[in-house]
Symmetry: C2
Subunit: 482 residues, 2 copies
């Protein structure tokens, strides 16, 4: 009944599967038997990342074409090392450190304005003053991520980790939302996911105000056009590797209903302007303290109440909570009633058997982001992640990485590893991984024609992956990685 039960592996795939499963069982048993090593999915990723990187299963997953990453956010897709090593080295980049030792950034054409609570200093000059450039850069990097040696102490509860999480977006906002960086950042995002063997992505975008050196700002239309142009450029340059992607416009679930209505209307306009690269609308932000979908009901019903009704697909974050029977928890029900195309997280889904039935019947994808749920403290040991039940029952789920940059991940492989090792049993094999990749394309917002094209590209890459792994295995005399 598990996801992948209907996948039939050919002879070569079976050989790769045998290799993969040898390593999987080895790694599970290393932790499972008495006094074993910590099981990487049971350790907070903020400290457990090196354990993952030692895994040979992880190495195989990295080289595997994983299809589509469908749940990402605009300003957290890129490995933050890139911001440090590339962006903060650019001309006119300034930093300031507030009284809690958090660093913020901004570009200014000349002498920065006075900022008494957090005085601006040239990054270039600060770096020169530092005794060790690499150490300076590493401190900048750590300062903009959630990484900390003792997560339980630093983030004692969900509100604490969310406060810090949202702050990191502010810290790097001044870098990413600078027009030249904005363009490069998105290109870098596509590059990193492509390098991680992801063929397609959909991300939530706030369509933020982007500033230029002279202080003027560029609006949503410029942002959408930029996304469109870079998608086109990148696909053009990587025709045999990458299929493209789409933007999901996302409001913050704290704004007044009128703003949501404006955003819904803008979404309708963008969908007409960019039918190939604009997918729909969502609301984002910490769900528990945020406004419910119900509070935005009128605005969200606007498209369907037009004559004739306008089709605006929704991709609602819903049920990203440990609480049950609360207003947040009811978002899950309302998302389905509002005809959502997919559900972001849907962490609480298992507690709603009736919604589960509807999700399965209507083939509504559940976007599962294992590491995000762990780092943001919904669950500590990923073997307790409720999506294990969805995997066991062949639900339409896709694995994504939410905000990989913020917790030191990169691309999609870390989350795929967690799904493979912790959301499915020791006996779940290559068929699960293959089906997750196939699902991700099927459950994307692509048209049938786009899906068919993306699927062909993925299949070529898949066959090449199988060939390459077998070749490596034979070359190495029966041990893939020597």
């Amino acid at each position: 009944m598990r996801i992948g039960h209907d996948v039939v592996l050919n002879a070569n795939e079976q050989k790769v599967n045998a290799i993969l499963m040898k390593y999987k069982q080895l790694e599970v048993n290393r932790s499972r038997v008495h006094n074993g090593e910590p099981f990487p999915p049971s350790v907070n990723f903020l400290v457990g990342k090196p354990l993952v990187e030692k895994s040979k299963v992880f190495q195989i997953i990295k080289s595997m074409p994983k299809g589509a990453a469908l749940h990402l956010h605009d300003t957290s897709m890129v490995d933050l090392h890139w911001l440090v090593k590339n962006v903060t080295y650019r001309e006119n980049c300034y930093m300031c450190t507030n009284n809690k030792y958090f660093v913020y950034f901004k570009f200014f054409p000349g002498t920065p304005p006075s900022n008494p609570d957090c005085p601006w200093k040239s990054v270039k000059e600060e770096r020169l003053k530092a005794t060790n450039k690499d150490e300076f850069d590493n401190l900048l990097y750590l300062n903009m991520t959630l990484i900390t040696p003792d997560p339980a102490k630093a983030y004692p509860n969900i509100d604490a980790v969310w406060t810090r999480f949202l702050q990191t977006f502010d810290q790097v906002g001044g870098l990413i939302n600078y027009a030249p960086v904005f363009v490069d950042y998105f290109y870098e995002a596509l590059t990193e996911f492509n390098q991680d063997n992801v063929q397609y992505l959909e991300f939530r975008g706030l369509l933020p105000k982007v500033y230029q050196l002279d202080g003027t700002t560029l609006g949503k239309d410029w942002v959408m056009k930029t996304y469109h142009d870079i998608f086109v450029k990148f696909v053009d340059e990587h025709r045999h590797e990458f299929s493209g992607g789409k933007v999901i416009y996302s409001g913050l679930r704290i704004v007044p209903e009128n703003d949501v209505l404006s955003q819904v209307k803008e979404s309708i306009r963008f969908r007409q302007l960019y039918p190939d690269h604009f997918a729909g609308y969502d609301l984002v932000g910490q769900e528990d303290p945020g406004k419910t979908l119900l509070e935005y009901l009128d605005a969200l019903l606007y498209p369907s109440e037009q004559v004739p009704p306008i089709d605006l697909p929704y991709f609602f974050h819903a049920g990203e909570t440990d609480w049950e029977g609360t207003p947040t928890d009811h978002n899950l029900i309302d998302a389905v009633l509002l005809n959502t195309s997919r559900i972001g997280h849907g962490y609480a889904l298992d507690k709603h058997p009736q919604v589960m039935k509807m999700v399965k019947q209507r083939n509504i994808a559940v976007e599962v982001n294992p590491i995000s749920n762990q780092v943001l403290l919904l669950v500590s040991d990923l073997r307790n992640h409720p999506a294990a039940d969805l995997v066991a029952q062949d639900f339409p789920i896709v694995i994504s990485s939410d905000d990989p940059g913020i917790w030191g991940a990169r691309g999609l492989s870390y989350d795929f590893y967690m799904a493979f090792m912790a959301l499915a049993g020791e006996d779940a094999d290559l068929r699960l991984l293959k089906k997750l990749a196939i699902n991700s394309i099927e459950l994307s917002a692509m048209t049938q024609v786009e899906k068919s094209k993306a699927s062909n590209l993925w299949r070529q890459k898949w066959d090449a992956f199988i060939q390459k792994l077998l070749h490596q295995f034979n070359q190495s005399g029966g041990s893939v990685f020597g």
Copy 2:
């Protein structure tokens, strides 16, 4: 669809429900809103117990008749304060402290034998030497429990906490297994559960060797007769409060198959000898490193292979694990195939949709012990306990407390509180609690006649509870607890 959906509350029950729900919502929201207090079920019980005791919901649950506790173990049912304050004050009680500062106990008629690694000293004399008697007693108490100020540090993983857990049984074994104490201990267990408004209990018993002051030991027959006699005596003395209980003989899942066969045969004999107080057979111990049910298959099939087949009910611990697809995890499948009457823990059940179907169809009770699963590190935040899904789907579950003494709990109320607050939504109300109590009687090993009698007694107590709570509420001018 949730457990209790079919319960219809009468007018008085509705009033009590309104009071209960007022407090529940108050307590949930105290934690749910930003910067709220820690939610007790999300904190390891070893440090979170005082949070529970502050709860008015907990106070109501304590006074509520809860029916049956069906998953307990022979030597961990009693609040360990009783061992300290009663048993260690008895004549001839000796203690020794090993090189890791753990205290063991034993009774000796005169000068104890030499025990170089852990020299015996009179408890009475040691207590006299202590500067503060209460402090001395409290140190003894803490030493025999899992309680520690920093559980994450003291017990970094499941193996570590299980090692310490099993050690506590050894530490107190010398007290409990002394014949006069053994009798009193069991009487005290019944007393505490009765005081906690539990009407009936079934427990797993190892039927251990019990020693007398002269060094001679008493065997399984004496132990079973003792249980029988005390059940009869206690029920006789508490005819309007308590309905009795049954023993489930339990082997350790590390012994050779031949031992299991002997135990199965003894179980058959005990069931004939004590049809009213002997329920069946089980295997206990840490499941992951232990032997699987499959390894004991021949012994376990013995009763059904006789001509004519002998009916020996099984109550297998199964699926008490975070691992999926491993031999332990398969115990769950084998338990059902071996026709188990109930499943102890069944923590992994959600990951097995086919077994779930069978469990529901055959009405196999799942014995859920929330605090045990938290303290023994299967799950940290009880809102992530997989039984939340079983509650949501009206599965035949019963709530029990496993080994309350070891982690400082008492009776059943702490676990009932966790079930009410964390395994069900904020909106789950008195109907859930009432149905859990009804279920516990229905899913016990009682005969229909016994169930009907126990059910009547429970119902009288339930009505009195409703009356009393309303009376208190009215007396207090609209606030139950002043």
